[in-house]
Structures are given as structure tokens and as C-alpha cells.
Symmetry: none
Subunit: 211 residues, 4 copies
Amino acid sequence: MTVTKKPSKPQESNERAELRRSQILDAAYKVFSEKGYRDTTVADVAQVLGMGHGTFYRYFTNKHDIFEQVMNSALLRVAKVIASEDPKATNTLAEYRGQVERIGSGMLDLLDSDPAIPRLLFYEAMGISPELDEKIQRVWELSGEVTETYLINGKSKGFLRADLDTSVAALAINALIFEGGRRVVRSADKATAKRRWLKTLVEMIFGGIGS
Amino acid sequence: MTVTKKPSKPQESNERAELRRSQILDAAYKVFSEKGYRDTTVADVAQVLGMGHGTFYRYFTNKHDIFEQVMNSALLRVAKVIASEDPKATNTLAEYRGQVERIGSGMLDLLDSDPAIPRLLFYEAMGISPELDEKIQRVWELSGEVTETYLINGKSKGFLRADLDTSVAALAINALIFEGGRRVVRSADKATAKRRWLKTLVEMIFGGIGS
Amino acid sequence: MTVTKKPSKPQESNERAELRRSQILDAAYKVFSEKGYRDTTVADVAQVLGMGHGTFYRYFTNKHDIFEQVMNSALLRVAKVIASEDPKATNTLAEYRGQVERIGSGMLDLLDSDPAIPRLLFYEAMGISPELDEKIQRVWELSGEVTETYLINGKSKGFLRADLDTSVAALAINALIFEGGRRVVRSADKATAKRRWLKTLVEMIFGGIGS
Amino acid sequence: MTVTKKPSKPQESNERAELRRSQILDAAYKVFSEKGYRDTTVADVAQVLGMGHGTFYRYFTNKHDIFEQVMNSALLRVAKVIASEDPKATNTLAEYRGQVERIGSGMLDLLDSDPAIPRLLFYEAMGISPELDEKIQRVWELSGEVTETYLINGKSKGFLRADLDTSVAALAINALIFEGGRRVVRSADKATAKRRWLKTLVEMIFGGIGS
DNA sequence: TATGAATGAGGCTTCATTCAT
DNA sequence: AATGAATGAAGCCTCATTCAT
């Protein structure tokens, strides 16, 4: 029996599959962000792509599997911004202030382009599964440690207060940046909101609110 | 032994009912905090009290009803701390610093005694129902406005920077306090964590991190 | 130990109990009529009397028990009307016509004072339990047989058609009377409706609609 | 053997779905008729078809939805019989008598093939939902009006009594026909029962029972 | 490889009945 | 005798997952 079936090119097939997989991931990211894990149905995600919902299971093991991958991609984006500067490159307060401005700006831009990240990373992910909880937790800790590297560098070079509680201050700074992100996301005039938050944030970190 | 008069039937009944109701509310608060709204089943709450799940419905209309009441009680506690000081009573930076210390301390204590509040109020409540969303939103706005009152008072009396962006700064301060609460809650040595966060928080707000 | 408890008078107690029982029966009759068997809850019936719903079970075995008794009382009232005349007392068509008018009038009055009877007896009762189904069925058959007695009497005395299918005609006559009842019940002006139905009904039975 | 071209996928799918839908509708019709709305569970209907109860919800929104459709189909069948003759086509009593015989015969056949219709339409449907109540009510009124059209025609042409109360008589005639249907349905020998009822019914309407 | 029909576990809610007070 | 708090069986509905086509 002669088979006239077009021979599959594995290369091409893999590319196609990878593309599809990526499309599903994007759609899931979107839907999870809007409705949360529990309220998102596999059919919801499939419908965004006009795809049969059975097809979903050809690319992902189950709902939890794709959520974990969605979380991974969100975490990666945050990590990239935080790691975008060299913690040891600064020698003066002004230089560090510049760094904070750039990191803050980058983070605000990220959260603006991905308004779902706060919800997704801060709370949505928690309680889905112990593994996921722990992973998120680890990223936040890491994130704090990276910021702390900047502060330790500043302390050692003398342009930050010698009695600065670097680990706590690092978390506080991160919190300010994330809160800024959350607020900018929800604001009507995002450009203005971003400018105001960045200014206030930097002023507070570097000079406090006193006159 | 002092004999207290046996209370009359209906009185006693009401007290019993109120007690039961309160027990269910507490149990629900606990379970909602740990598992979130969607993951919490009415049976879960009932099981905590070792009671049949049908009993639940003698005290609350439905799952949404009790969640709303749980939220109300959480919101009330937060509001009490925020409103515990007089925004116009301060005339110097030092006095205001004292106020922030007391409010921060009160909030940290509250979040310590009620570790669930951040999760409950920040994200868990959202998306359950439009009414609830709006209520939470209103409380956050109000909360920001109260803090802003302190800042406006400081500006008008000259002990805060004239160019301070009061509305943004108010939200930033609130965010710092809440982040402190979240972190203190999770720390092993809460007393130390509280002291460190309070110090860092006040230093940052009033002096920045520079040397 | 001297017991000062008032000695119960069994007589009086029984009377009280019987009164209560009768009150519950009336309330149940009302509620069953309005909402049907499935939609009526024991608590509904108790509430009508401002009585604790647990008390219900002191007077009736269960919900089915009281429904059966409600049905019995309804059936009894119908039977009384049907049996209110003497089937053999008539010797002329005119006399029988008078009987039908009186029975019809009595039934219309009954259904007017008890608008629930049609619903209760015709359909509500069916499907609750096989025993009940059968009982209702038996009553309808009996009811037809009683009416048939009148017709047989008429046939034997020659004032009704010799070829009259008495058993079918009896059921048809009963159906007309009941339909009249149902319609009178729902009409706005019951007196007029009763008069019109009675007239039409008798005319049809005794003369047809032709000119 | 004639080979029929294999239908295209979506076509076939639609047919299959429509078939399934229709099967469920039939099963529901049957179960609703036997047990009534409240006593019928979705699982009951599913079990008749040996299918999982979840499958039901792929074809109908909910239990009320399918009941409404069941009612619609029943109402449609009744309406067809009633509208099967031309009310104005008759000029003599004999002709009208022929019409009544045909309509009565058609209705008896319908109720024989669909023994559930009386229960379904007269009582079962009422009290489920206000919309349904109103729909049923409207059909009965309409049904009476159609029958009345025949009577008015007869009066105007002089072959029916001038003092005939057409609206009441119309309802009475309908009631007779329906009662006949109910009885024929339950009889052992349906052919005979049908003949006897039809004869008695027509005799009564057109001549009364007198000799 | 893609599809979507089918499934049933699981969650919410009601209510008849029991029983301690 | 009266009460009503407590219970859990049972019904409606959703949706993650499977599988035949």
C-alpha cells in the first residue's frame, strides 16, 4: 500500500507546535490575569483562540501546568527589570538615585504593559499549590536580596547611612515600586501618574517628606 | 460563690445564637484567609466547628453573605487604626513623626493579630461581586484621603515640603505600612521584625536612606 | 416531695390537642392549596400558626400524613354535595333538572368557598404516593357512580334517553360541573359567573346547544 | 445497496446534536409527564437515556428551560387540532356537528398518543414560573375563543340557540373534550372508549340527555 | 493533530426530620 | 407539651479531563 501522506517535517512540525503552545500561553496569561485561576476555565482560554478546548491538553498537562508556566513568564519579566542594572557600578548617592529612577521607571513600564503582574504574582498564585507558593516566595526573597545588594554597595561606599537596615529597606523600596506600579496601572492618565509616582518615590527614598 | 440569676429563655437563646454566629464568623475568617473565597467551601467552615454544613445556613444567607461580613469586620479594624489619631493635632515634624510611629505600630500590631487582612482586603475580595469590589475600593480611597489629611496639615504648617505630592505620598506611606505588616506577619521573631520595620519605615519617610 | 403541678385533666387536654390538630390541618389545607405539596414546607405551615415547626410532629407523623388528611377532608366535602340528593326521588325530567341545578349550585358554592379543591384533588395529589393516587382515583370513580345512579333512575323511569351511555354521561356531567367550579373560582364577578355557568350547564345537559 | 455520500462533518455534527437534543426532549417529556416538574430530577431524564447528567447541560440551559420547551411542543399540538377546522365554513347544525365530531376525534387521538398533555397543560405547568403560568393561561383563553368563534358563527346563521352564552358554552365544550381525552387515555379498551365518549359528548352538546 | 461530546466529582443550597432543653 | 437548633440526604449546576472520531 502506497502512502501518499505528506511526510511530516519534524522541524517544521516542532516550530508549528511551539508557536501554538506560545499562543495558548499568551491567551492563558490574559485570561488568568482578568479572571483569576479559579474563575478561568480551560474553555475560556481555548475560546480566545477559537480553538477546541480538547486541543489544550495536547500542549499542556492540565490547568495547573499552564498556570505555573504563566507565572514563570511573569516572574522572568520582573527579574529582568531588577537585574537590569549593575549593583556595584555606583559610587555616589546621585548615581544610585539615577539607578533607582531607571529601575523604577522600568518596573512601572513593565507593570503598565502587563497590568496583571501584581495581581498574578502577589496573591493570585497563592494557595493554588504548595509548590507554586514556595516558588513565588523564593522570587520575592531573591528580589529583595538583589535590591539589598545595591544598598550594601551604597553603605560600603559611604553614600548610604551606616545604620541602614539594608534587608528591611530593600523590601520597603520594592514595595514602593510595586505599589506605584499598581496605582499607575489603574490611573486614567498613565503618563502623568507615572511621572508623579516616580518623583514622589525617589524623593521619599532619598530625602523623606520633611521640609 | 455568687449566684447569677439564670437569664430568661429568649435572652439566653439570643446569646447562644449570637455566640454561634460569632464562632462561625471567626471560623470563616480563618478559612477564607487561608484558602481564599473560591477555595473555601461552606463545608470547610462547618468542619472547623465540627458542625453539619446545613447548620451554616441557619446563621448566614449564603457563602457570599458571610464573606461580606468577614470583609466588613476586617475593614472596620483597619479603619479604626487609621482614625486613631487627630490629623490636625500636630505642629512640628517631630510630632507628626510620633503620629506615624503610633499609627504604624498600631497597624503592625493589627496585621500581626490578624495576619489575613492584607490578603483578604487587597486581593481576595476583588472579583467576588461588583458590590464588594466597590466597597473595598472605597475604603482604600478613604484610607488614602485620611493619610493625605495629615500631609496637607503638615504642608500648611510648613513642616512638610511645599512641593510634596500629598495624594501620591499618602498612598506610598500606606503601602509601606501595609508591606511592613505583611512582612512582620511572616517573620519568625515578630517583635524584632516589628521594631526593625518601624524604624526603617519612619526613617525612610522622614529622612530617606542617604547618609 | 409534694408535687404542686396542676393535675392534667385528660379530657381537657384531649380537647386542646384536638383543637390544635384541627388548626394545623386548616393551615396545611391553605398552604398546600396555594403552593402545592412539594413547594409547601412544614415550616410554612407552622409559621401560619406562629408555631414552632417542631411542634408539627407532635400532631402528625410526617408531611405525607397531613397531606393525606387534607385530601380526606377535601374529598369528604365533595362527597357530601354529591350525596346531598336522593337519586331515586325523581320521576320527571323537570324534577331531575331541579336536582342537577341544586347539585351544581352546591358544588359551585363549595368550589367557591374552597377554591383549592380542583387543584388539590385533580392533580396536586397525584404522584405523591401510590396509596394516595389510588384513593383519589377511587373517589372519582365513586363520584361517577353516584351520578350514574341518577341517570339510571332516569332511564328506568323513562325520562332519560333509553340509549344514554350512563357511565360516560355521568363522568361528562361531573366534568362540566367541575369545570364550572374552576372557572367561577377564577372569575372576578363570582355571582354572575355562577349564574351563567349554571344556566349553560343545565341547558347543555338537558337540551344541547342547538336552536 | 445504495451508497449515500458521507455528509460533511459539521452537517453530520449538527444532525447528531439535533438528534440528541430531540432524544433528551422526548425523555424529559415522558418523565415530566409521569412525575411532574418538581419530582423530576435532571438525573432522572439523563438516566432514561443512559447518559451522564452533565451531558444534559450541553443541550439545555437548565431544568426550567427544557420544561418550557416541553410545554411549547405540547401547546403546539393542541393548537393544531383546534385550528384544524374552519369556524365559518358551517351553515347547518348537522355540519357543525360534523366539525365537533372531527375536532373531538382529533383531540381524543392526540391525547391518546400524548397521554401526558392534560396533566402537563392543566396543572403541572402552573406555579413553576410566572412566565410559564401566563403562557399557559393565554393558550387556554385562546383555545376558548377559537371554540367560541364556532358558536358565534352558529348563532349568526341561526342554527344555534339565540340565547346561547357562547363564551361559557365554549369553555364547557372544551372541558368535555378534554375530560373525554383524560378518560380515554386511562381506559383499557381505548377504541371503544373513544367511540363511546365521542358519541355521548356529541349527543350531549347537540341534544342533551333527555328523551 | 484537532475536536467537542460525554462524564462525574464536587460545591451550593434546601428542607424533612430528630432531639435536647 | 413546645420549641427550634442541628443534621445530612438530595437536587441543581459547573467544569476539568478523557476519548472516539
